[in-house]
């Protein structure tokens, strides 16, 4: 079959890898350099730590990295997961957490050496797992632990009152102040408000820029495919308060816009546009390559677009757009309190994936259907993810809504970070059958 569109590799691959490596290098060198080494979840308020010289070992990407060992070093992987199983943690718990705990219990860091010695844990309890995860970590390691309670907004169509929203803004802002005071007291170190303001500002820019990159995928042909996007979205997950991530996304956006202008496609055979849902099986990203061989481009997912925030709802347009940062709205952050308030508001307003972990129903369906509409989606591939109740919240109702809207939808069961719960062969066979129903034959 002849290619419909031209395609070229992205220029920024190496830079993305470099930024990721820098994050892990920072963690490895933190103690030597006298920096704090903090443990916590990525989808909390990692910008809170920017007031200190620190490195942040974020748990979820580490858990995903453990899952990759399944193919690279199966014996080590087996040791890790069995350590968690033997400790008594049930297998239906979050697989990121189980991988992390297994590694911690063995005292083996998968990048070499013992598990890093964390100074304290800083977490945000936006899902049932996260606050308890780091409670367990802090008990195992005997280190201090602070968790913030992030009560999300309900979806925009719920009619949640402005009064309730303001209560939540205040609640989170006060906890941010509480967290900072706690960190100062616990570490005896000075908290640099200027750096905090800078970190928070960078977070807004990073996540808004990433949203713009994702929005560019509305174009036909799509300039990016989801497998590629997952390599880039993780920079926001790992290090969105860093300037280098802002700069990277700015460059990436420029490159993607150039691809759109020149009709450069992620998949030169693009003839069918998919979205996915939930985290993918991290160790099984080949499934995207299978899709591509049918001329399918997976455009992303609500998860991929918005895990770290960055989208705001327009009630006039009834859609979500890349969020305007406080700077873009003419708001200057001068004090710690300004930054705290802005961070709380940003998380509440733009953090739609974390919101979707608590609230699904009509609001989450609207969010996904908005993506279907704006990204010109032809079909959906839904990962029924046993490893994460949060991202699975409302999935079956979303499937019903997609089918009702005439969007062919396929589900497959799996686990984002436990390969023992994913049957690749069977999933690929299901994809093959699904493609038949769409009238698509393999191209290569």
């Amino acid at each position: 079959m002849e290619k419909k569109y031209k395609t070229t590799p992205l220029k920024l691959w190496d830079k993305a890898k470099e930024i990721r490596m820098n994050v892990y290098k920072e963690i490895a060198e933190a103690k030597e350099q006298g920096k704090l080494l903090i443990g916590g979840g990525a989808e909390g308020l990692i910008a809170l730590a920017t007031g200190f010289d620190h490195a942040f070992l974020v748990g979820e990407p580490y858990g995903a990295s453990v899952a990759f060992l399944y193919k690279e070093n199966p014996a080590f992987y087996q040791q890790i997961v069995e350590a968690c199983d033997h400790a008594g943690y049930p297998r239906d718990l979050c697989s990121y957490m189980r991988n992390y705990l297994g590694s911690l219990l063995l005292d083996k860091y998968i990048f070499g050496g013992p598990f890093p010695k964390l100074d304290f844990c800083l977490q945000a309890g936006f899902c049932d797992t996260h606050s308890k995860w780091y409670q367990i970590v802090s008990e195992i390691r005997g280190i201090p632990y602070f968790s913030l309670d992030l009560l999300p907004f309900d979806w925009e169509i719920s009619g949640e009152s402005e009064k309730t929203k303001q209560l939540k803004r205040e609640y989170i802002t006060k906890q941010i102040h509480e967290a900072i005071e706690w960190m100062v007291k616990t570490t005896g170190r000075r908290f640099d408000d200027e750096k905090f303001i800078e970190g928070v500002t960078n977070e807004f820019e990073s996540t808004s820029l990433w949203a713009k990159v994702c929005a560019a995928n509305r174009a036909i042909p799509a300039p990016l495919d989801e497998k590629t996007m997952l390599s880039f979205y993780v920079l926001a997950v790992l290090a969105r308060p860093k300037k280098e991530v802002v700069d990277f996304y700015r460059e990436l956006l420029a490159e993607v816009e150039e691809r759109v202008a020149n009709q450069i496609a992620a998949n030169p055979y693009e003839r069918c546009r998919f979205i996915s849902d939930s985290q993918p099986p991290w160790f099984g990203l080949d499934l995207f390559r299978v899709l591509e061989s049918y001329g399918v481009v997976s455009l992303g997912a609500h998860y991929t677009f918005a895990l770290s925030g960055g989208w705001e709802y327009s009630s006039e347009e009834e859609t979500w757009n890349p969020a305007r940062t406080p700077q873009e709205r003419g708001i200057e952050l001068k004090t710690r309190d300004d930054a705290a308030r802005a961070l709380a508001d940003w998380w509440l307003t733009t953090g739609t994936v974390c919101r979707g972990v608590r609230h699904s129903g009509a609001g989450k369906i609207k969010r996904v259907m908005d993506i279907v509409d704006k990204w010109h989606v032809d079909a959906a591939l839904i990962h029924l993810n046993r490893g994460c109740e949060g991202t699975a919240l409302g999935q079956m109702d979303i499937v019903q809504a997609l089918l009702k809207a005439g969007i062919p939808t396929m589900t497959f069961e799996g686990n984002h970070a436990d390969p023992r719960e994913y049957d690749e062969g069977r999933t690929f066979a299901r994809i093959e059958s699904f493609m038949e129903t769409l009238g698509l034959k393999k191209i290569y």
């Binding site: 008594g88 309670d149 029924l384």
Partner: protein, 375 residues
């Protein structure tokens, strides 16, 4: 009397529909999660009723809720999808676990569209939780007024608080009586009382609780109770068949820590600086669900105190399959009991319980507790 609670438990929908006939102008709100501030709804004239499952296998929830959510949440949703709660005017929850949250969200899509989502703080240990909740309950008061057309006056709220406090106090008295040796009522009977109570107007429940206290805690037959004293710890539990099975083996379940047991009624609303503040404080300070028990573990000392004060010989930890909050606590909980010389039996529950298999395990556990000679 206990049989009245059993009657309500077994005929919960008939009770609610009869209540509706008696009070045609009032509303019925189904709730999921024991953190729902029932006093507020009752003050607004509505009857809050706990939505429970039916312990029957079902196949109606598969299109709406992924199979890895806990069996209780799926059983709850099934009741709605099967039309058994068609008399509800609204549903409510209070920032529950994600499993019940999933059931709740699907329920609002497919069963009862009107809902109240009470944002109950998750980190109850932060000093900011109370002021937040006070504000949220003020807002809930306004939402209820919009819904019912009735302003909740201080008198309404005070009366509601008093009624619920009386209910809690009476249940507490019954539980206190279970410290006695022998225990005056079985765990099964206590479960009928506590779960029946969840389904009733407290105006109806309180007189019955008083009768239980006056007439059934000191009945002659109650003196002949069995020696091995057990505690049940877990998430939601209304598994009567399991309780009956355990207690057929010369054992009695004398106390519990679970959502529909003691955690529901343990502490009172203490009046002080304002009615809404008092209600908010009660929910922030109540015996905590594992989902909310961080960063410090407050639940473990509370559960140990129950075990010690009720003179328990062993603990059965019941675990709804896939229940994340309790699974997170499981390791710490079992270790904690062990380190305090309390033997434990850990059982995973589903909608229906494998009574045969559990019977063997329970018997073995009891033998261990009694150090029975095998030969």
């Amino acid at each position: 009397m206990i049989k009245d609670f059993k009657e309500v438990y077994e005929n919960r929908h008939e009770y609610a529909k009869d209540w509706r006939k008696k009070y045609p102008d009032r509303k019925i709100v189904g709730y999921m999660c024991s953190y729902v501030p029932e006093e507020m709804f009752y003050a607004g004239g509505a009857l809050p009723v706990r939505i429970l499952g039916s312990h029957e296998p079902q196949n109606v929830t598969e299109p709406y809720i992924f199979g890895m959510y806990c069996p209780f949440s799926r059983d709850v949703l099934a009741q709605g999808l099967l039309g058994r709660y068609d008399y509800l005017d609204a549903v409510t929850t209070a920032y529950p676990c994600m499993h019940l949250g999933q059931a709740f969200d699907s329920w609002t899509l497919h069963v009862t569209p009107k809902y109240f989502y009470v944002d109950m703080p998750n980190k109850v240990q932060t000093p900011h939780a109370l002021p937040f909740l006070i504000g949220r309950l003020e807002e809930l008061k306004r939402e209820l007024k919009d819904w019912t057309g009735k302003e909740i006056s201080d008198e309404d709220l005070k009366a509601s608080i008093d009624l619920y406090n009386e209910n809690r106090s009476l249940l507490r008295q019954i539980y206190e009586a279970r410290k006695s040796v022998p225990c005056p009522i079985t765990g099964t009977e206590a479960m009928y009382i506590t779960t029946g109570n969840l389904l009733m107007d407290k105006q109806d429940a309180n007189p019955l609780l008083k009768e239980v206290i006056e007439k059934e805690l000191s009945r002659p037959a109650a003196k002949d109770r069995s020696p091995t004293r057990l505690m049940i710890v877990g998430s939601e539990n209304d598994d009567i068949k399991f309780m009956e099975m355990v207690e057929q083996f010369d054992a009695v379940i004398v106390v519990d820590d679970h959502c529909t047991g003691s955690r529901y009624f343990w502490n009172q609303v203490k009046l002080g600086n304002g009615l809404i503040e008092a209600v908010a404080r009660r929910y922030v300070e109540r015996p905590v669900c594992p989902q909310r028990d961080y960063p410090e573990r407050q639940r473990l000392p509370h559960v140990l105190n129950l075990a010690k004060n009720w003179n328990v010989d062993g603990v059965i930890v019941i675990q709804q399959k896939f229940c994340d909050p309790h699974e997170f606590d499981k390791v710490a909980l079992l270790k904690f009991f062990e380190s305090n010389n309390l033997p434990t039996l850990y059982l995973e529950f589903d909608v229906t319980v494998p009574v045969g298999q559990f019977k063997i395990r329970v018997e073995a556990f009891l033998e261990k507790l009694r150090e029975d000679e095998l030969w």
